[in-house]
């Protein structure tokens, strides 16, 4: 089982967390001006990299807070975690 570092609670077992998919997706600011393709992009198209991926996770069975993470999708290893609203951290683990 993976050990995931909640930025609020510290390291906990994977079963306490849920994955919320790709991070940093911004809700369209002017939805009425969006084309169908733009909507498709917002709703359905996700980055699906083989390697480094920015994701949002929730500490569902803990503090219930959302946070962001950089995780490798091949090794499944977490590179780093950072709080929602925080700038992308440098490539250091915490």
């Amino acid at each position: 089982m993976l050990e995931i570092n909640c930025p609020w609670c510290g390291p906990r077992d994977q079963i306490e967390f849920s994955c919320g998919g790709e991070a940093h997706i911004v809700r369209p600011l002017e939805p009425e001006n969006l084309s169908d393709d733009d909507w498709a992009d917002y709703l359905f198209y996700r980055k699906n990299p083989e390697g480094r991926h920015h994701e949002q996770w929730c500490h569902t069975a803990g503090c219930r807070k959302w946070f962001n993470a950089i995780r490798n999708t091949v090794t499944y290893q977490f590179e780093t975690v950072y709080r929602i609203g925080e700038d992308l951290p440098e490539k250091t683990s915490r």
Binding site: M1, A40, R46, H53
Partner: protein, 417 residues
């Protein structure tokens, strides 16, 4: 047909202690170019090549596989075959596939061990039962066999199942498709490979595509670890790696790749004669001809390319199976593994053209594409040969995510398989 498998060839080879069987397919060097290159030597890719040659007379075809054929999801799945999908589009597509399964061993002259032992989908809640009734009625209207069973009837077919009303999630009923069943996954890959090879198709193993060559908006070939190979048309059928190949061509897909796991037990005497699946408690189980229990779990919620998944998923899965079949609680598991499945937002595949001329994609089968292997190859071959989809796959376009004409099969495909 030269080298036909039959009782006579078996007898003839028995005399020489089975030392003179010929290879089932050639291992040629890549040619400079082909009419069609199929990327991905899973069941779908091999079936595509076979139907391109046998149905459309296009024999100058190569299948490029980066590892060995059938080593991807084709060789890693729990082999459940059924066609009882809810919506017309998917029901027709999977039913076409089921009909092809029904004659496949004869057609390929290769025993794919297709066994129509029935597939049972359990309902544990009132809403489950309403969905099952609705899906079964939709199936009747599409000419697909389906029965709704009550717990007493389930007990007759699978006496070892815990159908007690006091179970944590009591079994209230099931849908049952008697024509559904299982097939031998490796044999499906090998059978299509051998049949395609006899039609003249080159099967190139250990040939990894690293780039898609294009000129003026049209595909011209591929770059591989065995050199550059030209092609007039390229069909991509790489399951979990669809997004990776798409990005080589500058395309994006509405697909995410997730690990999906399965496990098998030590071999047991025959005890489970049909396939049992449950959406609500999330597990599915059948018994292989070797006697192993073949058990499938759910996907990991995160994306991944590592061909392995979380232990917590296995734990939840086994919990569900043991609750349903208390008699299996002390069976030992032999092997556990994962595959990478290409999940689409509406749990339906994308089979068709792309903005690049001559480049076709067949992907998004996610957790349930093994059953579609012959049908998927059949419609994809048609699409590539004619440059237009067949009516059976016309609805499964990439454009549906912009037009909104999704085919929401989460109800029928929600459980992984």
């Amino acid at each position: 047909m030269k080298n036909k498998y039959s009782i006579f060839s078996l007898a003839r080879n028995a005399v020489t202690y089975h030392e003179n069987w010929r290879e089932a397919w050639r291992s040629p060097e890549p040619r400079k170019g082909y009419d069609v290159i199929v990327i991905g030597g899973g069941g779908h890719g091999l079936a595509t090549a076979y139907y391109l040659a046998s149905e459309h007379g296009i024999r100058n075809v190569a299948v490029l596989e980066k590892n060995w054929i059938g080593g991807g999801n084709t060789g890693r799945n729990t082999t459940i075959v059924r066609s009882n999908y809810l919506w017309d589009e998917s029901a027709h597509l999977y039913e076409k596939s089921l009909r092809l399964w029904e004659g496949l061993s004869q057609k390929l002259n290769y025993n794919v061990m297709f066994s129509q032992r029935g597939v049972m989908n359990l309902g544990h809640t009132l809403q489950d039962m309403r969905d099952i009734e609705r899906r079964s009625n939709a199936n009747y209207l599409n000419g697909i066999d389906s029965e709704v069973l009550r717990p007493e009837q389930i007990r007759q077919i699978v006496p070892i199942m815990n159908t007690s009303p006091h179970a944590r999630y009591p079994v209230l009923g099931a849908s049952f498709q008697r024509r559904g069943g299982v097939a031998r996954h490796d044999a499906v890959a090998w059978g299509f490979a051998r049949a395609a090879d006899r039609e003249g198709v080159d099967i190139l193993q250990n040939c990894e595509v690293t780039g898609i060559l294009r000129h003026n908006g049209a595909v011209t070939g591929v770059e591989t670890n065995r050199g550059r190979i030209q092609a007039k048309k390229v069909g991509v059928v790489v399951a979990g790696h669809s997004s990776v190949i798409a990005s080589m061509a500058g395309l994006r897909l509405p697909i995410e790749s997730h690990p999906l796991q399965a496990l098998v037990s030590e071999p047991l005497k025959p005890i489970l004669h049909t396939v049992v699946m449950s959406n609500a408690v999330h597990g599915y189980i059948s018994q292989s001809d070797k006697g192993e229990l073949v058990i499938g779990a759910g996907v990991d919620s995160y994306t991944g390319y590592g061909q392995r998944g979380s232990f917590s998923v296995v734990e939840g899965n086994i919990g569900a199976i043991v609750e349903l079949f208390p008699v299996f609680s002390r069976v030992r598991m032999l092997r556990q593994w994962g595959g990478i499945v290409d999940v689409c937002p509406d749990a339906c595949p994308i089979i068709g053209k792309t903005p690049i001329r001559g480049l076709y994609f067949n992907c998004g089968w996610g957790t349930g594409g093994f059953k579609a292997t012959p049908g998927s190859g059949w419609v994809f071959a048609h699409t590539i040969a004619r440059g237009e989809p067949h009516s059976l796959n016309a609805a499964f376009t990439l454009e549906r995510f912009s037009t909104g004409a999704l085919i929401d099969e989460h109800g029928a495909a929600g459980v992984a398989h």
